[in-house]
Symmetry: C2
Subunit: 359 residues, 2 copies
């Protein structure tokens, strides 16, 4: 275990240079003459030297670390509104850790159970010097985390846009999100191009009465189908679409009931765009039960969609994760930059279209 004794001093001695030169090779290679650097790197390799990151963090006053919350999938209806499946959440954490490794930063995880004060946890993580910023998921309107982070000018990014406009933070913080409308639009067009003409929609309940700007994930995905279908059929009346659409809960049972109702009204239905893989599975089951064979599409491209072989929309979580870090850290490098003026965020770039996977 003499490795733990290998410090920058031994490397400097081995290479015949000063401590500072070794430090420069590690942190500012461009400041060091190539041949000197080579000597140092050789010594590092020979001694199998790894910098002590606590010392580095203490002195440099930056942790090169971020924190992300991990949630349990055990309770049904987790997260802000129970709409995001655990699959996406867990993939996001994985891709975030992966992207962070490529950027040379570390990811701390923390949890927050019902009733716990998450702001206090964020605050401790910051004040202890362990993290330089946060990645938020499942934000809600007037989220106390947003207020805390904005007030203290703590760098962060939210995966998920601010829905609703009543919140004071509506467009004042950095976020990245997946373009739900673009996804259901693509699915609708795909079915149309395959020759299907009666294309229905299965979605989640939403309280909004069809304004043009989406007010929730549920509404966003509904609008994608609605607009695309109106455009394709040339029928502009909202109601004509509405009757080909059923909204319910994120459960198999709800999806089956919705599908049954939809087919009762429209026995000539030819395809079904669904807001989630769960709903698509429910629809597929009900269709099988009714001996009908029409294609369905889901959302998330989860293992479920692969196993049950229906088309789905891949959220490109890997790209979302690396873009998240780009917002936090800039084009490259491994420093989390202070966000002094959130208004600089170029929002149009932060809505990622999902990728249609046809099956």
């Amino acid at each position: 275990m003499n490795k733990s004794r290998t410090s920058i001093i031994s490397v400097a001695r081995e290479a015949g240079v000063s401590l500072q030169t070794v430090s420069n090779v590690l942190n500012f290679p461009e400041r060091v003459k190539p041949e000197t650097a080579k000597k140092v790197l050789k010594a590092i390799d020979k001694l199998n030297y790894t910098p002590n990151l606590s010392a580095r963090r203490l002195r440099s006053r930056k942790s090169s670390s971020i924190a992300v919350r991990v949630d349990s999938n055990a309770p049904i209806g987790k997260g802000s509104d129970g709409l995001y499946s655990g699959y996406i959440q867990d993939e996001f954490v994985y891709e975030l850790v992966r992207a962070s490794e490529m950027r040379g930063i570390k990811v701390f995880t923390y949890t927050c159970e019902l009733g716990e004060n998450e702001v206090e946890k964020l605050s401790k993580l910051m004040d202890s010097g362990d993290v330089d910023g946060f990645i938020l998921t499942s934000t809600v309107e007037a989220d106390p985390r947003l207020k805390y982070l904005l007030d203290r000018n703590v760098p962060f990014l939210s995966f998920g846009r601010p829905w609703g406009s009543s919140t004071e933070f509506a467009n004042s913080y950095p976020w990245i999100d997946v373009d739900g409308a673009s996804g259901t639009r693509d699915a609708t067009k795909m079915f149309w191009e395959l020759g299907h003409r009666r294309i229905g929609f299965l979605g989640w309940k939403t309280n909004n009465s069809h304004p043009t700007t989406p007010k929730s994930v549920a509404h966003d995905r509904l609008l994608g189908w609605s607009h695309a279908y109106s455009q394709l059929t040339g029928v502009k009346t909202k109601n004509s679409n509405r009757v080909m659409c059923e909204l319910g809960d994120e459960t198999i049972a709800s999806a089956r009931a919705s599908t049954a109702r939809l087919l009762a009204r429209h026995p000539d239905l030819e395809a079904l765009v669904c807001t989630s893989d769960t709903l698509a599975l429910g629809a597929q089951m009900e269709l099988a039960h009714l001996k009908k064979s029409i294609p369905v599409s889901g959302f998330d491209n989860s293992p479920t969609s692969k196993v049950f072989n229906f088309s789905s929309l891949d959220q490109n979580i890997s790209e979302v994760a690396s873009l998240a870090l780009k917002v936090l850290m800039g084009e490259e490098g491994n420093s989390i930059r202070k966000i002094s003026s959130p208004k600089q965020i170029s929002e149009p770039n932060l809505i990622i279209p999902p990728r249609l996977v046809v099956r």
Copy 2:
């Protein structure tokens, strides 16, 4: 942002004591007179002081942190043998982080894609002083991680016992696991007590020809049903059980085919114990297709089992996680202890029986 300037010095000044006393209050409260401690705590509270953990780690030479790998669920057949579902893996990470918070330690996450050298990553994490130990999942025979960790005397624990006996590490490292046999036994007994007499089994393929000691997760769960059913029926011949059993892959399609074959041979089947929730779902679907109504049970108590309303076996991941830390850190405290003699591990305590959830 003057909070970042709040150091132990300001606290000491505020409380009118020396630095060391403040440090003692934080780390060894028993060494400090109660009234002194009270003064100090008051000052800490007033100044909203949070210790700088990098400084603490640097000086004390311990990180009070562990690392765990996070995996993607995107590829089908992930992990060592594709048997553990992503659900359990992700729940385990969540529960581990949760348990760690209660112990006052932090959890770093890292990833490892195919072809990457995981040992190198472990080594960097240790040598940088960022972690004191590891939690391993999905270990395989002759796992290079085991060799590295054992050789270097790095504290670690594996979630998952060492299957197979050919490995040189077979019983020489600390692990914790779920008792698969106990689970399928309980499910079998439950069906028996409900009055069912012809209880079949759906499992994963296994290469082992029924020795008495289980050689894999697949085999372990098979034996649980097999032994319990023999005992209940009084029939000791292995073959009589064997014919009520079908083994295949962890897919819906395989489960449906197995179920169809089983029912063809045994039209009088009354219940079906399955090795996983996926298999149970497949069985349930095939049974519905054949208009049969017999109960099935699965394994993991995943959301799938809840949604499709069949009995399942909860792996008690929360308990597994806190026991994992107990192995690493002892009964209480927040220090990861060096494992000098692995033989001390009391293995019988490390197999956790799953909890049968009847639906």
